[in-house]
């Protein structure tokens, strides 16, 4: 597969994995390994002084040897997202930020107005912003103008597992921004969804629930890794054009019992 470059850095895997919802930290560690993920997402949350779960988690992540992409999950305003991003930059020692500004509790859809505002501020402050957005092309253009060099459109709502619910819109987005790294973030439920996104030419996929909530998360991580590789190779190989009518693959010339009189 051709290499993936994000903000000038070569990333060894096109499958990015979340670290939440696993049955145990050990299963999470094994899933990240099975996925061969090079980037994992993390967050910041309130923690009591004597509850050192955060330190334990951070040590586990560091031992994975992968790059972390902190998120601003749960933030509902640009100000909350900007402050959370600033804290994440210090704690996780990275200027990468998966920018989420959430508009609605039921759909967890992005507040695209707040998203653009926060992306502008964070980009100006030196962050490398990975905005969780929709497939809306106008919003995408504003995010690029704000300084984003990567876009992360949803496939379907976070945790829904419904796959690419607007394949037309996602195909249009891929065609409209041929040179921009595009990562499908959220809503993938099955390895075939990941393969579909990669066959469309998406540069990578980011998922969490589909792996973490599988009966066997480690096996599912491996399944997604194979799907991402298959989809990418298929895209690079070039898919055949679809046709409305059948066309035989076996040569017609020399067909037995063929009679021109009955053709």
């Amino acid at each position: 597969m051709s290499p993936l470059s994000l903000y000038g850095e070569i990333i060894a895997s096109r499958l990015m994995l979340g670290t939440a919802l696993y049955p145990s930290p050990e299963v999470m560690r094994q899933a990240v390994a099975a996925a061969a993920a090079a980037v994992v997402t993390v967050s910041l949350r309130r923690e009591g002084a004597h509850d050192r779960a955060g330190q334990t988690f951070w040590t586990l992540i560091q031992d994975l040897g992968v790059r972390v992409l902190p998120n601003t999950a749960g933030c509902r305003s640009p100000r909350e997202a900007i402050t959370t991003a600033q804290m994440a930059r210090e704690v996780f020692e990275t200027d990468w930020i998966k920018l989420e500004v959430i508009a609605n509790d039921d759909t967890l859809q992005p507040d695209v107005f707040g998203l653009v505002e926060a992306a502008q501020a964070l980009s100006a402050d030196g962050f490398k912003v990975f905005p969780y957005t929709t497939e809306d092309l106008g919003v995408a253009e504003r995010l690029l103008a704000a300084g984003c060099e990567v876009l992360m459109p949803w496939a379907s709502p976070i945790g829904a597992g419904r796959g690419l619910i607007n394949p037309y819109g996602l195909r249009a987005m891929r065609a409209y921004f041929p040179g921009t790294p595009l990562i499908i973030d959220a809503g993938l439920g099955a390895p075939s969804h990941a393969a579909q996104a990669m066959e469309m030419g998406y540069d990578a996929v980011l998922l969490n629930t589909a792996v973490a909530k599988a009966d066997d998360p480690v096996k599912m991580a491996a399944a997604f890794a194979k799907a991402v590789e298959a989809g990418r190779l298929g895209f690079e190989a070039g898919l055949m054009p679809e046709r409305d009518m059948a066309q035989p693959s076996t040569p017609v010339a020399g067909t037995p019992f063929f009679d021109l009189n009955h053709a």
Binding site: A20, R45, E47, G54, Q55, T83, M87, A88, V91
Partner: protein, 65 residues
């Protein structure tokens, strides 16, 4: 004075954000801090004075999607 830390009201004598983190027992824990919605870098906690009704956030690494 009373302040709010991570959404919980508490009484404190801490003069600065650094004092508060130490009094609460965070020690050398890897944390990020904010005061009244604005980020406070670790290097500024000792200079950041607390006032009554201040709202402090103290965050630590956690799993994320």
């Amino acid at each position: 004075m009373r302040i709010v830390v991570n959404g919980q009201s508490l009484e404190t004598d801490a003069a600065t954000l650094a004092d508060l983190c130490a009094d609460l027992g965070y020690g050398d824990a890897k944390i990020g801090t904010a005061l009244n919605g604005a980020f406070v870098p670790a290097s500024r906690r000792a200079d950041t004075r607390l006032r009554a009704d201040d709202r402090v956030e103290i965050l630590a690494p956690r799993q994320g999607g």
